[in-house]
Symmetry: C2
Subunit: 239 residues, 2 copies
DNA sequence: CCAAAAACATGACTTTTATCATGTTTTGCT
DNA sequence: AGCAAAACATGATAAAAGTCATGTTTTTGG
């Protein structure tokens, strides 16, 4: 069998990212089915897994790296819906609703990503009701999260949303340091703006303000959280 | 068995709203299970089915009327997530993700609504894989719709969102008239603002503008769509 | 390693939208 | 019917955020 130069040898059975994923409690046999026709490829920053409006052919499972999932607006600006990390699946939602992709997915940190053809995935899904239930639960949870984000964007100011986004990033990517947590994700200011739902300049300005107020520290792209409480207050969590 | 004064006798087998609902192709036996412990009650405008933060005990199935589903913001303003109509279920999403309700549901037009206890609903769900699949598909679709709304709110102006909301309402509640379609739903300006995600005054002002531009007509709460193309243009659908 | 491109940063200005104030109309209730 | 409350409407003003212009720094590719 021909091999693409950057084809990687990642078997589901031994995947380190599996632990936290929905695949966590499939049995050996099922993992073998998953592995049988799958391919795993290295992706560079900026490469796109799939585009909005195209037909899903299978699911992407992230082994390493980070991927932004976003919709393109008529003004050319992206709205980032979420950032996927190792263990996450991508593309199964559209596959299950039998629709075209509603969003695009592009790598933002060098990644290793497996592709599992639709048919293999559906085979597992139909033969394992517990897996199906688990996925259902996950989708229901996701819907709740998305509703939360909608309400936040509709009702909070850009300042509040930025503060709350920084806190959310800290929860997910925060690395314990001495006293301060460094957020271990290389987001451009533009990407950050596209998560928050605002203009790049506005994010840059607010970050400077947060910095001079001593709430965060900036080391290039990396954001250091210096004063969690102040950020929580800024995000208006309890008001 | 004691009967509450406004208890209604609605049997799932003969429910007119069933046709368009997820219950459409359950068999007689399953419908009997559904009916067995269910109650169906009349609700007046303003009555609340459930509150954000409480525990789901079953699902609500709308037989007649309209219900707004919304989240409360810290500023006291509601963000309406969607409006449910006859045939829709409410509350199953939180039940399946085993979380508290993430939103509240309040009647906006006099309604008849059935309540099916959690256990009965889960019985059907576990015994009928096709029904489960259908629901999964619906949730996946809903998630796509919600992502769409998020991107719209994040990227479009209030003016564009109002135009697009009016068009959406026309699709769902439009009644064919002579030349113009009347939107058959009695939304207060405040509710409309809470769908669009803006202040009530802003909606009122923009509606006046749309009216003097000849795009819509206003007869009390009812909105008449006079020029669909102009609204589509205003909503910036193709730009 | 160097040049070009991309990302970051800041100022000036404009537009959009929220907020506050006030008055009018409609609705609901007894 | 009549009164109170809610909803609707409009103006004035302020605040928030977007846009444009321009310069600096960082990153990237040959």
């Amino acid at each position: 069998m021909a091999r693409r130069s950057n084809q990687l040898d990642v078997q589901c059975q031994f995947c380190k990212a599996k632990g936290g994923s929905h695949f966590a409690d499939l049995n050996e046999e099922e993992l073998t089915i998953l592995s049988s026709h799958k391919s795993c490829v290295g992706y560079k920053k900026g490469q796109t897994l799939f585009y909005e409006g195209t037909r899903p052919m299978g699911i992407f499972c992230i082994n390493r790296g980070k991927v932004k999932v976003y919709k393109m607006g008529s003004n050319g600006r992206e709205q980032i819906l979420f950032i996927a990390q190792p263990g996450d699946f991508l593309g199964y939602r559209s596959m299950l609703s039998e629709e075209f992709y509603g969003a695009s997915a592009t790598v933002i940190e060098p990644a290793a990503i497996c592709f599992i053809p639709k048919s293999d995935f559906l085979t597992i899904l139909n033969s394992n009701p517990r897996f199906f239930s688990k996925l259902m639960k996950a989708v229901c949870h996701e819907l709740g999260v998305m509703e939360d984000k909608l309400a936040q964007i509709a009702q909070k100011s850009v300042r509040e949303r930025l503060a709350s986004t920084i806190l959310m990033l800290k929860e997910t990517y925060g690395m314990e340091g001495e006293g301060s947590d460094v957020i271990d994700i290389a987001l451009s200011r533009e990407d950050l703006a596209n998560i928050v739902g605002t203009a790049t300049e506005t994010v840059i300005r607010l970050l400077s303000e947060f910095k001079s107020d001593g709430m965060i520290g900036l080391e290039g792209k990396r954001i250091k959280v210096l004063d969690v409480n102040a950020l929580v207050h800024e995000a208006d969590f309890y008001a």
